[in-house]
Amino acid sequence: MTKYIIIGNSTAAIGAIEGIRSLDTTSPITLFSSENHHTYSRPLISYLLENKTTLEKMKYRDDNFYELNNVTVVYEKIVKINSDKKQVYTEANKEFSYDKLLVATGSRPFVPPTKGLDSVKKYFTFMSLDDALDLEKVANSTSKVLIIGAGLIGLKCAECLQNKVNKITVIDLADRILSSILDKDASEFMQKHLEKNGINFILSQAVTSFNGNVAQIGDKNVEFDILVMAVGVRAQTELIRDIGGTVNRGIYVDTKMQTSIADIYSAGDCTEIYDISCDKVRPLPLLPNAYIGGNCAGINMAGGEMVFDNAIPMNSIGLFGLHIITAGSYIGDIKEIQVPNGYKKLFYQDNYLKGYIVVGEIERAGIYTSLIRNKTPLDSIDFDLIAVNPTLIAFEKKVRKTKLGGKV
């Protein structure tokens, strides 16, 4: 009998529960959620505003999930851990003890300190369900929206507000949109597409100051009714940092998702993790990694043997009907493929595929992902063929045989 405590109620937490229950079906699991919602899928908040989904469908697991998995949910925030006593404490200073603990606190929006920000009546972030619901309340056909940050969050936000509001302007310090996942050409391609759909961009600039509902950007002023801060996110690492656990840009974890402190595991956006595509340790705040990491942590917490050692960045994002798929890192040599009303670039270095960007024709792109993830030597496949068109024929006969004739 092991007492499990999980701090957090999102993807990594669910992954952990399913991991634990795959080995230990009886021991009690207590889960702490700072948000007062059944577990839901964060990336869906923009779809919610577009009415492409509903609160019901947004649920990341069915209503009876906790019950089925015998999980006690406590809708309270954990503020402190005592790793010697093996206890955690709520704001109300209630104590709960654990044998194995998972910290899956995720990340929070980063709001850069800007002059006069306090003069803005209300600004929004776009991370949580509550954020989205608040935003929905105020947005109307006359609203002028200013979004700070042309990253995934900012643009998804822009997309979902587009039909609801009067005007949307997105500003970013970088010289291009989606700078974290696209290279220059790709972002230009994408920018054109977004502009066609009525999004305005101000790039290579920042808000120098706010004055009420006016933002000063360089020498001109931009009025707005709604301000959305989508500059980026920061891992929530305090709980571990406070008790002296190793923390950099995120909580440090080994390949078993264990922190530097005994019996404490961590997974999801709050961690940093080894990215094999560029062999650097860095936060990879992406849902698939959160689940896989959480699941791996759960299995190890329950005494199983599991490692998560092939994490890479993976993104699939659709904006105004145009799909982008990217994975890995954009380093090494480039192979660019011309595709009709789309875009494709492969990045490879010393015989391995490192990353790729595909815009438009996204089908079967996962085959590229697997090349990166499995570190497939490019000279073992027909790279020219696969570059043009992701296909299994590019692999050697014997590999094909196991892929298609073997149990996988």
Partner: protein, 141 residues
Amino acid sequence: MKRVYVNEEWCLGCHLCEYYCTFANSNMTNMAELRNMIIRPNIRVEENNKISFAVSCRHCTDPLCVKSCLTNALSKKDGVISIDKDKCIGCFTCIVSCPYGAISVSANDIAQKCELCTNNSNTSPLCVQKCPNGAIVYEER
């Protein structure tokens, strides 16, 4: 568990599997209704200088697509990975993660994949039943 396996040695590249798959997953009563239709099968034939074989979902033991699914639309029950069309919002994270390229975009812009004909009126995968040369089989391995 029984899975669909293909043997390129016997694949004739006739593409019949694609048409039968489309038919199986349509609600047509007569295959001729495929006339003048762009088909979107869950099994696709790959061809390159005289090599050909069909590819469909391998129903992996450790399915990345299910783990990556944003909405829990993809799930695995008794070894069969199925998709809840109602939940899928077409983010296509599954497409990024599937190493076989076995998940594709449906007519209404969400993900679609082979469910071994458990989701239609056929008793076993129609592509297997109709393969003229036993290149596609449905068996335990």
